[in-house]
Symmetry: C2
Subunit: 196 residues, 2 copies
DNA sequence: CGCTCAATTGACACCGTGTCAACTTTACAC
DNA sequence: GTGTAAAGTTGACACGGTGTCAATTGAGCG
């Protein structure tokens, strides 16, 4: 099969892009840098990805696959009570955030690219769906505080679990990953769970 | 005085930059766009500001001056009790955020410019100082929850009041400005104030 | 009048993205 | 083996945005 080789190169490029983004925290990840890392010519990258934005989108998907984030989040839905589900979701997503930090930075650095922003917003919308499911489970147990509607509580949880907040607390404030998860969990419970 | 004319043009440019950033929510604010808005040639902008980054930094300062944010925040320090001071600070800063949203977006869109990021980090550090002062006032009244150290509580308040959270709740979730302020205040009190 | 400084025009270098054409390599099919 | 098609290479180029430079214009002022 010819396509085998093509797929192999494609994955090589994705790995290279991931590595470059991961290593150069806030440096410029040019197409030429990624190509060099992948051991091919800059132009060859365009044989597999039409634009830089598409490459980043594909890389984000690839990272998701490698870390099996879908499965991680699905497991958090198995919790029986709403409270357990809330903490399982926060723990699952909160511990995934450091893995996608580099991808998030790359996307947020190109806010004027419509394709990239659409892909990013899709991903974030999925996270909000997860938040909504957790909040609804909490509401079903009548454990959701009366201060907020389900929508508002979802928005607040979504906000707490944003990558920007993770970056602020861990990168800028120097919190450990464990502190981040435990304190965000504490805040969420404090704000969203009834008689807590 | 010759410098009068120069200062006048300088301010014209700053106003133009402000307007362009404000109007084009996530469009490209090129030097040529700003120059056109100011009614001068693109090259003339460089007679007043060496780089685009410096222009943005100066524009941010100009916006601060116009809105007299320093004075607004200073007033929040006049509150007598720690609790009052916390709510005064949240209200003052929270209601200033919509004014600087466009500037924030501009800075966050150029994360690889060292000068711009340094300027932005300075501004954010000042906000954190304000948070720290409010938390210390709370601690002085023995109204700070025992769950966090002063530093941790400051970090949490800083996180809650970040521009990214404001953008998320108002722009993406559609919250009104009033809802934003009141709910962030409620969350902060819930999380940070003892027996609340 | 002559000086100075702001501003203008037009040109250019640099850099990164994306495209194109021509050529080479690889691998498989017959 | 030889032919063919796809993958990859090199070199060149257009485009857009930033920043620089030189030559020129124009207004204000002693």
């Amino acid at each position: 099969m010819m396509s085998t080789k093509k797929n192999y190169t494609r994955e090589t490029i994705l790995k290279a892009a991931w590595k470059i983004l991961d290593e150069s925290p806030r440096a410029s990840s040019r197409m030429s840098d990624i190509a060099k890392e992948a051991g091919i010519s800059r132009q060859a990258v365009y044989l597999h990805f039409p634009t830089r934005a598409e490459l980043l989108i594909a890389t984000a998907r690839y990272v998701d696959e490698v870390y099996e984030i879908d499965e991680r989040l699905r497991k958090s839905r198995n919790a029986t009570t709403g409270k357990e589900r809330l903490s399982a979701y926060i723990e699952a997503w909160g511990n995934y955030l450091p893995c996608v930090d580099c991808m998030a930075s790359a996307f947020l650095a190109m806010p004027d690219d419509d394709d990239a922003m659409a892909a990013w917003n899709d991903r974030m919308a999925e996270v909000r769906d997860g938040c909504l499911a957790a909040i609804e489970a909490l509401a079903a147990d009548d454990d959701l505080t009366a201060s907020y509607t389900v929508e508002q509580a979802t928005d607040i949880l979504w906000m707490l679990l944003s990558i920007q907040n993770w970056q602020l607390l861990t990168v800028k404030c120097g919190w450990s990953q464990a502190d981040y998860v435990s304190h965000i969990l504490e805040i969420a419970q404090n704000v969203l769970v009834k008689n807590c």
